[in-house]
Amino acid sequence: MDTIDRLIINQLQSDFPICETPYQVVAERLGLTEACLIERLQALLDNGTLTRFGPLYHAERMGGALTLAAVKVPTERFAEVTALINAFPEVAHNYARSHELNMWFVIATESLDQQQKTITAIEQQTGLRVYNMPKLNEYFVGLKLEA
């Protein structure tokens, strides 16, 4: 990663324009050519520095429901419970974390009703209590992951 890559990552975390030739507009702003910008973005995507380039959608405003949930999994059942929970297509991400509540996952559904059904099904299949922690409020966060 060189100075140009850093410039692109630091300047392009938001505000990519919606217009006919957006790469041209951004390239001019950054003092690059359009071809150079496109080539750099492709390389940063190919080598995994960027996970994605494009619009980030807000799930709830698309009518979906999203929640964070946690379970306390006994150590000896960790692999079994991981398999059970990961098998739900509604479970989008799942992380092991250093805590008594040692498994944390995001449930993405099209409705709150489906969210509740998914939680109930997970509790029935695993025999474990699901601690549901939907967000009650979201605080504004600026974007600033500096490269």
Binding site: E34, I38, A108, N137, F140
Partner: protein, 160 residues
């Protein structure tokens, strides 16, 4: 509340994994969907104005940028002041997400979640100290949960 129609959803599906790296990316997508570029762009502008599109840009991989220490910090804050303090913590430059979530008493007394990211454990420890000082006496207890393993990560593309 803004309601998406079928065309908006088609645009969302066609763009959620990324924009094409072609000189006229919106034209490229519009052609795939049988729309004019003008209609596609005006719908995307509208979705952005209503917050359905949070932002358009690069989404870096934390780890690749050297942010290998990612902690979920959780705090027990009096409900009366949580919004005021949550806004302040969201402004800190090392916090990427900040949410009010429900407690589950007695086991889980924490109601404020802030994700922090650092290039070293010392950097994250310092960040936690900054949050702790900012909260002062309103901090009635906190913990930091580090992820020890990614058990599942799907192509789900929107942020909570």
């Amino acid at each position: 509340m803004f309601t998406l129609d079928e065309t908006d959803l088609a645009i969302m599906r066609a763009t959620q994994s990324g924009l094409p790296l072609t000189p006229r990316p919106y034209q490229t997508i519009a052609e795939q969907l049988g729309l004019s570029a003008e209609e596609l762009m005006s719908r995307m502008v509208n979705m952005q104005a209503h917050g359905v599109i949070r932002r358009i840009g690069v989404i870096p991989n934390h780890y690749k940028l050297g942010y290998r220490f990612n902690g979920m910090t959780v705090w027990n804050i009096p409900d009366a002041v949580i919004d005021e303090l949550g806004e302040k913590i969201g402004q800190l430059d090392f916090v990427s997400h900040c949410y009010h979530r429900p407690r589950h008493l007695p086991e889980w007394p924490y109601n404020l979640f802030a994700m922090v990211h650092g290039k070293s454990q010392a950097a994250v420890d310092q960040q936690i100290k900054v949050i702790s000082e900012l909260l002062g006496a309103y901090n009635q207890g906190h913990e930091v949960l580090y992820s020890t393993e990614i058990l599942k990560k799907t192509g789900f593309r929107s942020a909570g």
